[in-house]
């Protein structure tokens, strides 16, 4: 009996469609998030993350509709992030069928949001998404917004300490330096964040080879999130799991 290391594909959704490129030969419509969610559910994903990157109110109701259609067909946990500014947004998403929500920018702007969500729905519902990059802050890592383009001047480690004391269930640690490089996860950042926090850590950004996943676990990650390597079929979730099992990590088969 060992807790399995989780593999989590991430879908960027805007206006009801998966964006940022998905290239599957065996899907009729690679842009349909519900169809992709189903595909990943059957392919052995341990959880799914939808990142709502749309900006308009109309897109918001589309997202709720996607969440509810996905929840009808996919029986693994679903996290939805993006655009959550109030506990009422969380309530809507949970009612639609989300199991967890990811918060990022709105919590940086107003940290009390974390208390409001965790007091009402429990810590376990909240995934704190931290987009961090190397910078001249105290820890050497700074929190960014807008996909790493905007620096906040906020020290990433101080922010993680503050946020977890308010009540978060997990941290999704995105390396803005590694993101999109396919050069591997930022293992230095993972192991340093692991040493300062006691909640589960999901590592994200930089996955390029199956070996990268094992290295991130070695550095202290509890779960691993990736997008493009899965969307483009560079390798499958099962190939990652087979490699991890071979290396002695517990995975769900």
């Amino acid at each position: 009996m060992t807790l399995a290391k989780r593999i989590i594909p991430c879908l960027d959704v805007a206006g009801g469609r998966v964006v940022k490129g998905v290239n599957f030969k065996d899907l009729v419509d690679a842009g349909d998030p519900v169809e992709l969610a189903k595909f990943y559910g059957e392919a052995g994903a341990d959880e799914l993350t939808f990142l709502d990157i749309s900006a308009s109110v109309e897109d918001r109701s589309t997202t709720l509709d996607i969440v509810s259609r996905t929840a009808e067909q996919v029986f693994i946990p679903l996290t939805v992030g993006g655009g959550i500014r109030a506990a009422s947004d969380v309530d809507q998403l949970l009612r639609a069928g989300a199991d967890k929500v990811g918060v990022n920018t709105a919590a940086i702007n107003r940290p009390q949001l974390i208390n409001e969500i965790s007091d009402r729905f429990g810590d376990q519902v909240l995934v704190l998404s931290v987009d961090a990059r190397r910078s001249k802050t105290e820890s050497g890592f700074e929190v960014t917004t807008h996909g790493g383009r905007t620096g906040t001047g906020l020290d990433a480690f101080a922010w993680i300490a503050d946020a977890t004391s308010r009540g978060v269930g997990e941290i999704l640690l995105n390396s803005m330096d590694a993101d999109g490089t396919r050069a591997g996860f930022d293992t230095e950042m993972i192991s340093r964040v692991r040493s300062i926090t006691q909640v589960p850590l999901i590592a994200s950004g930089g996955a390029g080879k199956v070996e990268d996943f094992a290295r991130a676990l070695e550095a202290g990650a509890d779960a691993l999130l990736a997008a493009s390597v899965f969307h483009f079929g560079t390798f499958s979730i099962q190939e990652v799991k087979a490699h991890l099992a071979q290396r002695g990590y517990s995975v769900r088969q």
Binding site: L3, A4, A71, F75, P77
Partner: protein, 198 residues
Amino acid sequence: MIAILDYGSGNLRSAERAFSLSGHETIITSDPEICASSDGLVVPGVGAYGACMKQLIAASGDTIIKSRVASEKPILGICVGMQILFSSGTEKGGQLGLGIFDGEISQISAKILPHIGWNTISSPKDSLLFKGVEDQSFYFVHSFAAKSHVDGALSGWSEYGEKFMASIERGSTSAVQFHPEKSGDAGARLISNWVSSL
């Protein structure tokens, strides 16, 4: 008919969908009469122990559950819906539970909490719930659990930092610490095992 007790706790929609897939009519309700007369009652629950108990009592869920236990009508508790069936919980200062099972719900001794993700279970021989999925993984999200054996009950055990109770079955009352409605095919089988016993 299966009633999912709506007392303001939990993502009830996915539970409703998962149970209705078993072929039984399933409704989300807080109506005491429907809950009392349904073939099976599902008691969900997320969040803190005390908050769940408070909401449960406000919705008369305590009375509904106790009278179903007394008349041996099937109940399935899920996550905190399992925990509140025990005598008490230590979360946030301590709270009394329904006392259907003797024992305390306390924090798991592990370095990293919550215990989130897929874990396997040492399931009891003769378990109704785990028939055909004895060696499968199920999805957990919790920091607290029951840890001591309950007399006269069949229990499944899992481990995260320490051994804790993952399931309990006694007479018509069953409960699981994990989320069968989020546990893929294995969870669907467990749900259908329970439903077929109604």
